[in-house]
Symmetry: D2
Subunit: 510 residues, 4 copies
């Protein structure tokens, strides 16, 4: 599933720092000299209406349709928002679709981005600590979401502190992983935090700066590419904040920003889901028992040069019904599996490597399947063809696998095949070459991945996390982390026992 | 949202320990002496079919409808499963509905249950370490999900190790919380892991013991009450495992166990959602900007005896449009808010405490709202009445609140009101009495809760987690934990570099 | 034990960031305008020698003795360091001694200091990110510890990034604690990170800025008060850095800074140890088995007004030798205990509350002790007197305790008594008043503290950490944390597999 | 430094579980059938005295000297303890010395031992949960450390729960490490918990089972080899507990157990320090500024076959005084360094590779050093010779290094050289071969280790832990973990607010 976050409103005011130090700020206007700003918070009015643009694929754009906002204090038409209609969604769909599921960065891909985002945060925090800048945003907030100056300024301060918190190395500390010794020498299981890739954020009107900045930066820090939609009534604040972040070094392609109504937004997300990968919600529906792993073996040319296939065949042929090392298939009949095999064998270049026949001398009832261990070879280039891809990657929950091979320079094609699959439970990367492992792990999203020359799904320590990645509802099993993340939610209690400071008096309203 | 987990199948075999030590196990039958077992794994056959029952509200039950299973190896009708049909779902709905959202236990409620479940796990782990018991389950698995003895036995072993892992104090270690110093003396923010309350687990056929036991125990450890449905083809294994867990001390009311088709299961879950709380999925839909907190003040009789209300009134009246300490409401018109107020004032015993009028001398356009700070008193017993509850707890995203009061012995009624609300974002419990705080926190689920005499939503440290609890998709904001949990997913890499052990040889097939 | 850290040299250069962005820095002089600096890195020479001062109790001071340094590049006498000799150590001893063992702050004392130090760090990080400032320190380092400009500048950058890392809320995140549910409702065990109070840091010449700033700030963040001594050959760098930190808001009393030889430093530390608390190294010596807890009951006047003492007496008298609820004392003879008791009874106002006699009808050999449960009352003001303190707080490892009482306004005297004791293993604070608990916990250092109305040493969950605080060698027992901290040390492996960037070329020497 | 733990006594009783379930235990004798026990707790008396043996190198031994204990209840000579005198310490010294500093296991060495110790714990926990066994130990405790049966039994129960806590995978979870992304692709820093290797534990009389078992198992879990000495008055309890642990699978060589007086124990520890490695306490003394890293390059034959040395020479010769890429040495004069070099060149087979001359055209004062970058080759086999080892590994804090080379089968010799060095700060293992890295890392203890083809001390991320390993007082720098571990200690607060259970009554004395 696509990570799609709708932020609900927050009642009652942002947490604030003591505001006593605000005395020196002159809330009068001083905007014009801000190098990133394109509007003047004080001057927006019916006679000088401001314009809010969209951002996609690194470019600020307007639109043929303008949505006009009334000043909540006097009813003047004071802001024009460029709204994207159905005809205009294609660039947003493309932009999201171009981000792979493994994200813009992860611990095995472009880790320098963690540091860079730490720098962006430090710089933005410093800017927001300047009275001129914090006043600009406080006033801009007041214009569209009327609240007292202290409340609006408090929102800016919370945002500023948040950015300070993720300065320097603190972004990469968010990607901290852990590892536990395995069952034998050379084995270790590692738990990583992985991005979702393309994501969408929809935020409400009541905290026009704090909510979108915090969620946006959080999404970026972890390696996602966000499409951000803020309630149009207040989106001018975040449009200006994005310009400030660009000024501080945020790459302009990292975030897309859209003004639209909910229907258009929904349409984009549906298209992204369809284009990038079909939503696997059926995997979560109650009706079926679907397996999350397509059974396919990608064999590097170095392995092809060995007798690997012939050994696989020998081992498969040792299996027998008597000791149940081969047995009935509960979800597919023999006929269905053979029919599937025959369709595969029609693909040019494909061939039966072994198996492909019904078990002999068995009394398995016909509602179940009875097939010898079977492997079908399909050429890599054929797998990737649109007309074949779904057929080849169809899950057969039985003793059936696809085998293909690739040359060294075809690794990107293999990775593309992985990206296009719909389910990402397990995989094994059988190599002891750290650079190869890094390349494959950094460009894939299987929730449980076995890596190394002894990598295999049946030899892992019993305590490892077993579950899919890429879906916020994905449920792991087998470890303390799995139990905590799947079966409980976070709850925060803020104790504030006091004492009340001596000489405390009721402060002015805010 | 209800925590509803569908476990997908797992391809390729459970992780296993080295099996070399299995030599001494005699796979021959020896079941009859197991004190918890109601079937004999070896004897099940067409002539002596086994029966699988359901468990609800602590009682094993049969059903008028039996589903008959064929032996996958020879086609005999060898197991009869009592299937629950639509007429029989009421006890399951009731059982789930009776579990509050804050669960059977949490760090502030019945913590001795953490220890007790640690004991149950230790005892069950010991039982499963006995060859007689592990062989029983391995053979039972083989009968319904044919695989080699080593594979079936491996599944039992993984389950046994899992239970060992959560012996002793390890269950309570799962509930480990953390805390961070606040902004001033007496303030600290604490992050807890909170249960969801009633939950449902649906598991597939391929690992009839391991998947349901691991997910079931995980759910129980964290304080949930699970309804478990295993694929009927293999549910006999888990039925026997539940009997073993009861034998080890698991309270019989802790888990319900049902055999049914997916439609029936779905119906139960929908009813639970409806009875216990209306699904708040609209909170996540794209269209609206909904706030998650109902604005209501429950005033203990000790506070009622003070001049709290009159002080509230004085402070409200200091607010003025000029400095925006009161301002336009962006989502409700004045008219809509007054209409809501008038409906409330029709409730017997209710009264306007202050406000209730449009702002004076304003130029706020009529599409927005302009209301003086308003408070309406409604008697507690009226709030709880079905005909009033929805009206009173309706969210008005404006300067509008409900005030009620309660006597010391009415605290359970207040807690019931909290339980019945649909959204659980923030709350403040204004007391320095640790026992009172414990009672209220332990019986509620607000995601962000302020506690203590200085508790207030606007004075918390900027770095605290802000978000709702009770929904696996709930998204927090503001802390490193929030970023990690909302914007990334877990990925596990199991490295297995080797070396291959000296003198290694190909083992027999499994 | 006093936390006393000698930093050893670091071989081979500080870790550095890519230096490619340094092109725009003009290493020519531009120091004069730095508002905190008192020397000009470029101008220091034999004709214009610089002076290095000391800092104690918030005041910069010189000395009657000057140590003159030769310029390592040309032998000129270019820096004069004010060295503290034996006559001058008193202010340093006093300054350290005035810091209590529980530190300048901890989670229960002055938590706003965590935030303040986060602000200081953010400001200092920003200053060091300015080319003018980083160049100043790089050049100053080069003058006293000759290395290439890139190496010196790299040291400044690492320091800058470190300060960024602990901006905002990140200092208080270092004080993150954890908690685990207890055995029954109302019980929880919490693990905190506690400061040592006064500490000393001695750093070498090779990284004149990085090592002292990182260790100094680390010590400050956790709540300690450091006395810093940098190798005099390079201490000018840190003297200027301290002035910069003061400019960024660091309170001038937080750190003392001394130039001296090792003997003088040693003398200060010994005096601090003697004045503030006698070193408890005997507790760690091999010879004896010393208990860490003085047995003493401080009774608040509210308790005194009850029949607590008479109940204690009744319960003590129920104990009998037959069931070993009272038994032989293995480390003190009866005679020794009675002699100790009689000495206590000579203190004015003291009295025997109960016990004080040998057991009757026993056959315990005379090398062991046989005493009835005994309690002696001693007035609080007498306990605090120097002539009595050691006697009253002497550990008797037997059924023997001191009881005293105090009025509400005498709590500071009780806390002073706790501070003066030498061993800090366990304590119980029997109250449910959160403000009282906060006051006592925040001003004490017992490693294992039981708090709450049911607080008692014999009813805690079996899994809690049991061990003394206040000594870096202190060893806890009973929890996973204890095992990890006591029985293993940290080891860091930095993997750097590559790949080598394309088109990489050998850079210039640094 | 050697990890040497003296456990102080614990006052006031072990934490206990509710004892209400003890009713069914018959405290009468039933020992004889315990398969591991060599004494009968009830029968020990003056006429049938028990004997306590020592355990070393896997063998139980007696001694020529017996220490006779008096029954504390009646004065009879009831236990004889085999005391080791000065003549007998050699086997203990050897046994400890044979354990390398990197321990019996660590995440890169024998990880199956983590699992095995989990099994031992599960089995021992099960044994201690049997009334027959727990009663045996409770009675044995009562015989030597007289306390009530409930107190003695409580001690057994706490021990039992502790062992349950570390069943299954929980031992390896203690070795959980963490990792943070590095500065560029392929770089990651990992933090591990590392054992100390040989350690000693001295425990007091008051908790004869709980304290030694908890500390002993903690030490074993993390990979250490402990020598255990329990107060002779009560050591019979732990002697029997060790026999039980052996019965549960603990290898007999894992723990040595000694009865002796403190002087003998001290002597063993001093010898171990001397034999295994000279105590590096001088590194911590105030006087000097000592670097922890010996500068030495071990070159694998594959590297020798390249032009690595000639490239090193070229790069060294690019350095010049003008830009300070070579500069004055602050702690050694030119003369001292040349003298050291000449001594090295007297070793057979050694030769000057480059440098070895004073800098030209410099004005560095003669109190400092001025040397060209210098490398001396010494053959590996010469380095290991006792007469050369100290000379070759002497730290020269200047531009001076030793270079040697080794053939593939000489890796164990290289590892031996690392083991014999006295300081273990940094190392770089320059290889991308995961098996080679595993071998070297698993058999060494450098606190900060750089691994991989790009491994180098000057290119690591600025946020990595920098510090030595192997000393409990070792102080890291540079990371949040370093700050927390170096500058604060653990403090535990156990809250117990209540409520008091209804109908609670004063229980009998214990």
């Amino acid at each position: 599933m696509f990570r799609f976050l709708v932020c609900r409103g927050i009642k009652g005011g942002a947490p604030q720092k003591a505001l006593s130090s605000l005395g020196s700020i002159n809330p009068a206007r001083s905007v014009s000299s801000l190098p990133f700003a394109t509007v003047d918070a004080e001057e927006i009015s019916g006679s000088q209406p401001a314009e809010v643009q969209n951002l996609v694929q690194g470019k600020w754009t307007t639109s043929s349709t303008w949505n006009t906002l009334l000043d909540p204090l006097n009813g003047e038409s004071f802001i024009k928002v460029a709204e994207v209609d159905e005809a205009g969604i294609q660039p947003y769909v493309e932009s999201l679709s171009n981000c792979p599921k493994h994200g813009l960065h992860n611990p095995f891909k472009a880790p320098e981005r963690y540091l860079h985002l730490g720098d962006v945060s430090a710089k933005a925090a410093h800017l927001l600590s300047l009275p001129k800048v914090s006043n600009y945003f406080a006033r801009l907030i007041q214009r569209v979401s009327p609240k007292s100056y202290q409340q609006a300024h408090g929102e800016v301060q919370v945002t500023q502190k948040f950015l300070e918190n993720f300065s320097g190395d603190q972004v990469r500390f968010l990607a901290r992983s852990f590892a536990v010794p395995g069952n034998h020498l050379g084995q270790q299981s590692h738990g990583f935090r992985w991005p979702y890739g393309p994501v969408a954020i929809v935020t409400p009107f009541n905290f026009p700066l704090e909510i979108p900045v915090l969620q946006l930066m959080g999404a970026l820090y972890m390696g996602n590419k966000p499409l951000l939609k803020v309630d149009s009534k207040v989106s001018i604040v975040m449009e200006q904040a994005l310009r400030m972040l660009h000024f501080c070094g945020l790459p302009v392609e990292d975030v897309d920003f859209i003004n639209s109504d909910g229907k258009i937004m929904n349409k984009i997300l549906l298209e992204v889901d369809y284009v990038a990968w079909v939503c696997d919600q059926d995997a979560y529906a109650c009706s079926g028992q679907k397996c999350s792993g397509q059974s396919i073996l990608f064999m590097h040319e170095n392995w092809s040069a060995t007798d690997l296939i012939s050994k696989l065949k020998d081992l498969a042929q040792r299996r027998k019904l008597e000791d149940l090392t081969i047995g009935p298939v509960l979800t597919f009949t023999t006929e269905a599996m053979l029919e599937h095999m025959n369709k595969l064998l029609e693909i040019p270049g494909s061939k039966l490597l072994f198996g492909g026949k019904e078990l002999e001398n068995h009394s398995i009832p016909s509602i179940y399947g009875a097939l010898k261990p079977t492997a079908v070879y399909v050429p890599l280039e054929e797998i990737l063809k649109d007309k074949n891809f779904e057929l080849v990657t169809k899950e057969i929950f039985g003793p059936f696998q696809i085998i293909t091979d690739y040359k060294n320079d075809q690794l990107p094609i293999v990775l593309e095949a992985l990206e296009r699959m719909h389910a990402h439970l397990t995989a094994a990367v059988v190599s002891n070459d750290p650079l190869f492992l890094q390349e494959v792990i950094g460009h894939s999203v299987n929730g449980t991945t076995y890596a190394g020359l002894r990598a295999r799904t049946t030899g892992a320590p019993q305590n490892h996390w077993f579950g899919p990645a890429g879906d916020p509802r994905g449920a792991g099993i087998g470890t303390p982390e799995a139990i905590k993340l799947v079966w409980s939610c976070h709850r925060e209690i803020i104790y504030d026992y006091g004492p009340i400071p001596k000489h405390w008096e009721i402060p002015p309203s805010t």
